[in-house]
């Protein structure tokens, strides 16, 4: 069996070292090695967005990135979104708008929405819909999610 690989990366602002097998995806590393189980596995092939994380600030599907590939990079997961002061405005607005039911898609949506608002703090509804098109939700019908994101943008998150 190939040796485990030693990887150094910054995870949610903290420098970390971890060992992983070559074949482990970043999602598996986060969940199984680092016990950051907020990122979810939906499809495991790039279709649903439940595993979304930011890699050096760019939104990616962690199920399609090998853990070994994050060497020297910064990863932000859903666990890194709230601050010591409390929930991130996106999280607050998801609650207020009841933008979730089963909740499996929610971490992915929040991470994706955060990436959008960082690039474009005042998106139009169409831009929100277009940007979140890589995230699937089987429960809410999307409307509440879109409204929560637009509301968070209004707050200037």
């Amino acid at each position: 069996m190939p040796k485990k690989i030693h990887v150094q990366a910054v995870i949610n602002g903290q420098p970390m070292d971890f060992l992983c097998e070559p074949r482990q995806s970043l999602l598996e590393v986060l969940r199984d090695e680092l016990r950051l189980t907020g990122s979810k596995e939906g499809c495991n092939n790039g279709n649903c967005g439940a595993c979304n994380v930011l890699l050096d600030g760019r939104l990616v599907n962690s199920c399609l990135v090998f853990g070994a590939e994050v060497q020297g990079k910064a990863v932000t997961t859903i666990e890194g979104i709230a601050t010591a002061q409390g929930l991130h405005p996106l999280q607050q607005k998801f609650l207020e708008h009841a933008a979730l039911q089963c909740g499996i898609c929610t971490p992915g949506f929040i991470v994706a929405a955060k990436a959008l608002l960082e690039k474009n703090p005042k998106p139009s509804e169409e831009q929100v819909r277009h940007w979140l098109a890589g995230n699937l939700c089987r429960c809410t019908g999307y409307d509440k999610i879109i409204r929560a994101v637009l509301d968070a943008a209004r707050l200037g998150s």
């Binding site: 069996m1 190939p2 690989i5 097998e21 070559p22 074949r23 995806s25 495991n44 092939n45 790039g46 279709n47 967005g49 979304n52 890699l55 760019r58 939104l59 990616v60 599907n61 199920c63 399609l64 990135v65 090998f66 070994a68 590939e69 060497q71 994706a112 990436a115 277009h130 940007w131 098109a133 890589g134």
Partner: protein
Amino acid sequence: MKNFQYFRPSSPEAAVALLDKTWGTAELLGGGTDLLDLQKEYVAQPSKVISVAAIKGFDGISVLEKEPPVVVIGAGTKIATVASDSGIKEHFPALASAAGGLGTPQIRNMATLGGNLCQRNRCWYFRDEHVRCLLKGGDKCYALDGENRYHAIFTKEHTCVIVSPSTIAPALIAYGASAEVLGPKGKRTVKLAEFYRAPRKEGEREHVLEANELVLSVSIPAEKGLRSANYEVAQKRSYDWPMAQAVVAFHLDGKKAKEVRIILGHVAPTPLIADAAMKEVEGKEITEETAAKAGEAATEGAKPLKQNEYKLRLLAVAVKRALLTAAGAKKYWVT
């Protein structure tokens, strides 16, 4: 997924040295959006995976000051970067459109240009680990009399009826782009128009590269005054591969279209140069009528399968609308 050895070379030459002479044992890793999926499905089972992440200068967009100027895009450049680059938007709008509409934001942020051009086909029989079709050493193409609504409509002389998966390639062909390729004996240049071939059996890829070659970069001449457009028909505006795609480019001499190129995507095992359609509008003004005729001509020679005759109509409309868009006509359709 089968385990493998992971390599992280820092130069293209070192990456080439790690590749093998035959396909299957070593794979380059660009963004991984195709390779990880193939490995999870056991369709690809390499024992070596060679990441391009640490190769210096493998990504980025630069301009060579020649006549005409040449835009060089590194193979490691992300599709999202290609889509948002201001120079590409201005000079190669069909490329920016194909890149900007591809997959999802997440996929565009990870996928590289080299990986996009060399990705494997999406035939669902091919992608299923339990099916051994022609391309996986079996003796039969299951799509021929199976579920084939997304397969090729240009099927004559093809034993495997996949559609070429890259939405980027037809745009690059229309612009006369070429790929710089590195192998054990050094560099060679391959025109994108000659980069693809229809695979027939196991051990053949969708492109003409050798197993120990890699794409370094793609060069596109920025012809002055060239008009161009990309039109895709897909079921949804995100996620979906187009069911039919047309990329057109031409010059205008007065009102007449000159040096017309019409390239078809997602309808044949390779991107197709639509000669009959090009002849139809060469030297003519692009009007609703001539564009529609070119659209009809683009379907000449097609031989659809049982479930995909519908693509003929989509293709004809794609060609017509791409021509009208490039000519600057008013759009009467929803975009």
